[in-house]
């Protein structure tokens, strides 16, 4: 038994320590940021904070939560995440169900599949997409943030590959009992597909929550900006023209910036541990075929 040999034991200890350090490295930057956000602004600006807060205070959070720009952006992001994910789940799962049928049952299946896959391979690009939104009159609306990405072909493929692993007997039993496709889909397929649906929802939610670029190009009013775009404008672009002077004055404070970054990442930190146990099965079953 190799487990009991001395060299393997030494390797094992070394390995465990190394991997623990590596995994902590994935967390430390975020942790450091949290500590900065909890510190008094003078030591934080002087760069004294490392792994504990100095002069612990929640002032930065208090200031962030009275900032109207921040709050309206937060609300826009919540709306787009809930609406966008909900709508996308409905549209993508029903399409994936139909496409998971064999050609014998659904003759047009392959035509539809190619119709969708082509959009994964080739696209008009940034400018034609922008002009389309402009012509449709969706500029500066929530719909501009939701509709263009509603159909995610990659997710449809994940879902349909999973649906195909559902035993045919279940489906046949449902049909013999008199169910139609819609009923079979809702009563049989959805309940057994929880892992993949959880995975896909996580992808969609994270996608909406993190998406900032569409906000930059399609949204003009400060109060309609999603949170990610708001954060992008203040942290990265430092383009304050869309924002209140009051917000701009606050920005010089490192603690406030840190608290905003942390709050914007918080929903993901909260949702992710619950859904993460599904996504390994979800992705694996969906993507890898033996």
């Amino acid at each position: 038994m190799y487990h009991k040999t001395m060299p393997y034991r030494i390797f094992s200890i070394f390995n465990n320590v190394l991997l623990t350090i590596l995994s902590l490295l994935c967390l430390l930057p975020l942790y450091h940021l949290l500590m900065v956000s909890l510190s008094a602004s003078a030591p934080a600006n002087a760069g004294l904070v490392t792994f504990w807060p100095i002069g612990f205070t929640l002032e930065a959070y208090a200031k962030t939560f009275v900032n109207t720009n921040f709050l309206s952006s937060l609300w826009v992001s919540i709306q787009r995440t809930v609406l966008g994910t909900g709508l996308a789940l409905i549209v993508n799962t029903i399409a994936a169900y139909a496409l998971s049928k064999e050609t014998r049952v659904f003759r047009a299946r392959n035509i539809y599949l190619w119709y969708f896959v082509i959009t994964m391979l080739f696209s008009g690009g940034l400018i034609p997409g922008y002009i389309l939104i402009l012509k449709l009159g969706l500029m500066n609306t929530l719909l501009a943030l939701i509709l263009p990405g509603l159909v995610a072909v990659f997710n449809i493929i994940l879902l349909l590959n999973f649906f195909r692993t559902v035993p045919k007997d279940l489906e046949e039993a449902a049909f013999i009992d008199g169910a139609g496709h819609l009923q079979t889909f809702i009563k049989i397929y959805l309940p057994v597909s929880v892992p993949v649906i959880a995975t896909v929802s996580l992808f969609m939610m994270v996608g909406h929550w993190n998406s900032y670029f569409d906000g930059i190009i399609y949204i003009r009013d400060a109060e309609k900006l999603p949170l990610a775009t708001f954060m992008q404008t203040i942290i990265v672009q430092a383009d304050m023209s869309k924002l209140d002077p009051e917000v701009v004055a606050n920005l010089s404070q490192r603690t406030i910036r840190a608290s905003q970054i942390f709050i914007s990442a918080l929903p993901i930190l909260l949702v992710y541990p619950f859904l993460q146990r599904y996504f390994v099965t979800g992705i694996v079953v969906g993507a890898v075929k033996e």
Binding site: L126, R254, I268, I283, V284, V288
Partner: protein
């Protein structure tokens, strides 16, 4: 007797005609695909026709039908432009480095993680390393800009331990390249191991037992069982990555670069954004985008063919 036969035929192993009909019902299946098909038509196919702009001098005021046709003017301009060659090179450099690093590091990481025997520790490590994948580049840029600043925590550490001058990670061209690749690997290595871990869990334990009986130690088992089992999926990932060599991750670079390092940091996508939307050169930007899309399409088709040929990989 007569009456008995009919129900028997009904119970038989084949569904009766009514059930079969219900099972087929193609119209309802069409109906189920319809919403997705319509959305894709509007938001993917209609913009594809906008590609024609690349052959025009598109003026928003004149619109699509009245703008002047100029043939290949924008493409010629693109080829005669030294800066365009520079950004194509940058794009290839970033994409290739990331593809290689994101293959090797997750591969090694998966092998090492496979040796962790304590299940609780293994789970914790996995949960932590997947996390950065789910944070956006906006959030991460905020963090990176903060910790990589000349007065940031990383430079403080380097200066106090090694006594060197603070490094300008995001403002010096060659350090910028290093930072982009390192931070991308940092963000994605954990998530990229998932696929290798899946392949590892598919290895038949009997192989290890047999090797054990034959006297192979863990090193030999890894060399002759584990690594050969991971090679095929590694090949699939590498081949599929070929289709992505013109994508160097817009989000990351867009959020970390600055005019200071355009020379070393600008990529095709960031260039298209600046030329197209900021400078209003709609036609030129579309031409650049079209060039990129066509090359990518060719590469994707080749890479999928190869992946199917060598590893039997299909997407659906």
């Amino acid at each position: 007797m007569e009456a008995n036969r009919v129900p028997q035929a009904d119970i038989g192993s084949k569904p009766n005609r009514k059930t079969k009909k219900r099972y087929k019902q193609p119209w309802i299946l069409h109906l189920m695909v319809l919403p997705a098909a319509i959305m894709v038509f509007i938001f993917s196919y209609i913009p594809m026709s906008g590609i024609l702009m690349a052959f025009q001098d598109y003026k928003p005021a004149l619109g699509f039908f009245d703008s002047e046709w100029v043939g290949l003017k924008h493409f010629r301009y693109m080829w005669e432009n030294d800066y365009f060659l520079q950004i194509t090179w940058n794009t290839l450099f970033f994409a290739c480095s990331k593809i290689i690093m994101n293959l090797i590091i997750p591969f090694v990481f998966a092998l090492l993680l496979n040796e962790v025997r304590k299940i609780a520790l293994k789970r914790t490590i996995q949960t932590l390393v997947y996390l950065p994948h789910f944070l956006s580049w906006v959030t991460l840029s905020g963090i990176l800009i903060d910790i990589l600043a000349q007065t940031g925590i990383i430079n403080q550490f380097l200066v106090s331990v090694f006594g060197i001058k603070p490094i300008f990670f995001l403002g010096d061209g060659s350090w910028f390249r290093f930072t982009i690749i390192a931070s991308d690997v940092w963000k994605e290595f954990g998530f990229n191991t998932i696929i290798f871990l899946a392949a590892l869990s598919g290895i038949n334990p009997a192989l290890y037992e047999a090797a054990e009986v034959d006297g192979a130690g863990r090193w030999k088992q890894t060399m002759y069982i584990t690594i050969p089992a991971l090679i095929p999926i590694g090949i699939v990932i590498a081949t599929l990555a070929l289709g992505n060599v013109l994508n160097a991750n817009f989000d990351q670079i867009f959020n970390l670069y600055s005019p200071l390092i355009y020379q070393q940091g600008d990529i095709i996508d960031t260039f298209v954004y600046r030329e197209g939307l900021l400078s209003g050169q709609f036609s030129f930007a579309t031409a650049v985008n079209l060039f990129k899309s066509v090359i990518s399409l060719i590469l994707i088709v080749i890479s999928y063919r190869l992946a199917y040929r060598f590893a039997g990989y299909r997407i659906f």
